[in-house]
């Protein structure tokens, strides 16, 4: 028990140290590198908190994809960073803000220490009703059955987020290819990696989705891995991102939410409530929704990272300059 506590304490110190680095590092690029390491350490914390599903999502999304996004932005914004340091608030203001933020942290710490015991919990209720869904993983059960409205809204909200990113293109850029992921220089090891890794990555991603019904895993974790493989191929320059006017791509972006809404609406007739599943078909219907959502979430995550579309001549120029 005590050795576990020592490991936990060391983990907490590392996490807090990296958080300090992210806040205090001089260059944004260094802070973004710190954020990737921070996400990986948080993954370990989630495993220690017996939340393996969350740990997978944190590793793939919180650390991997967010890290890539922030690293790319830091590299693009580096030329404008010099004048930021001039704008730092004065010492007195910083101390004042520090004291107030410490007070907020202390308040939250007090809440953590005063949490009621025994803790209120839905765990038994979930476990009692899980057999009706035909699933073995309680987290998937919550996502797909008991709180399906949350999951539906979340999968729908990803589409407006992508529309938001796309609408930041210039007028000339509309209909072109996304411009954030320009291919790396030729002669680097990345194209080789992008040929060797994706077959395994795609297998792992699909396995995560399939196994998510009964074991830790699920569509979001699987989709994040699949999106990472797609991004790797795009960054290595083996495939160009599709133009935003591509109709097939647009269909893939919405097929998951449409499938979810369609099955949910059918539930009104067949099971008496929106998003209710008729008991005999619960498992196959959930699997169908998960498959559709995996496709859509993969496409959205990849395209969110690929950024707003740029005019075709600019895209070609960027690719040539880098290769």
């Amino acid at each position: 028990m005590t050795s576990a506590l020592v490991v936990d304490a060391a983990l907490v110190l590392l996490v807090l140290g990296l958080a300090l680095w992210i806040t205090a590092a001089r260059a944004a690029y260094g802070a973004a590198v710190g954020f990737v390491a921070y996400g990986l350490l948080l993954t370990l914390v989630w495993v220690r908190l017996a939340a393996v599903d969350v740990a997978m999502t944190e590793a793939a999304l919180g650390s991997g994809l967010t890290g890539l996004l922030l690293l790319g932005a830091a590299a693009r914004l580096a030329p404008y960073e010099a004048d930021e340091h001039r704008r730092r608030p004065g010492t007195v203001l910083r101390v004042l803000v520090g004291v107030l933020c410490a007070a907020i942290a202390a308040g939250l710490a007090a809440v953590v220490l005063l949490l009621p015991d025994p803790a209120p919990s839905q765990a038994l209720a979930v476990a009692a009703h899980l057999p009706a869904t035909g699933l073995g993983n309680p987290v998937t059960g919550v996502l797909m059955a008991y709180r399906a409205v949350d999951t539906l809204l979340e999968s729908v909200v990803l589409v407006p987020a992508l529309i938001g990113v796309w609408s930041l293109s210039t007028e000339m850029g509309w209909g072109g290819r996304p411009g954030f992921l320009t291919p790396c220089r030729s002669g680097s090891a990345l194209p080789l990696l992008a040929r060797v890794l994706p077959p395994f990555g795609i297998l792992v991603g699909i396995h995560l989705v399939w196994a998510g019904a009964d074991d830790p895993g699920g569509k979001f974790q699987g989709a994040a891995v699949l999106a990472a493989m797609w991004i790797l191929v795009m960054v290595a320059g083996l495939r160009e991102p599709p133009p935003v006017s591509d109709r097939l791509m647009r269909f893939l972006l919405v097929v998951g939410p449409l499938c979810f809404i369609g099955i949910g609406a059918a539930g009104i007739r067949l099971a008496g409530a929106f998003l209710a599943y008729p008991e005999a078909y619960a498992k196959p219907l959930i699997l169908a929704i998960e498959a559709g959502l995996t496709i859509s979430v993969t496409a959205v995550l990849g395209l969110l990272l690929a950024g707003p579309p740029v005019p075709e001549p600019q895209y070609q120029r960027q690719s040539r300059r880098r290769s």
Binding site: A19, W46, R48, L61, A109, V112, A119, P138, E171, F220
Partner: protein
């Protein structure tokens, strides 16, 4: 003190640290990073509550997992946080390209708004 409580205190410190960075860092990208720190602190608090809620499962002898409801909410939250970060970062890059600055202050007259800046 148990490991779970320790992680809870860590989460509280992360929220405080992130809030400080959000207010005191002048660069907008640093503010986005700090906001993600706050987010991870909040998610971690959820994780601590989920882990404590799993105690009833251990009492019932059916496993040592956490409460799946907060865990599922965190997974939902992580995906939405990524989408929000992507929008914020894209907005910021566009702001830097059109006005040649990476901060949010508007006290200087912005550089002449031009679509040429992007084409050159």
């Amino acid at each position: 003190m148990s490991g779970t409580t320790l992680f809870g205190l860590c989460a509280a410190a992360l929220v405080g640290l992130g809030l400080y960075g959000l207010i005191c860092q002048p660069g907008a990208l640093r503010k986005i990073l700090a906001f993600n720190l706050i987010g991870s602190g909040v998610f971690l608090l959820f994780g601590v509550i989920a882990q404590r809620g799993g105690g009833v499962l251990a009492l019932a002898g059916t496993g040592a997992d956490g409460d799946p409801v907060p865990q599922a909410l965190v997974i939902t939250g992580l995906v939405v946080a990524f989408a929000a970060t992507a929008i914020a970062v894209t907005l910021l890059v566009r702001l830097a390209e059109t006005s040649a600055r990476g901060t949010l202050e508007g006290d200087e007259p912005p550089a002449p708004e031009s679509s040429d800046a992007r084409r050159t």
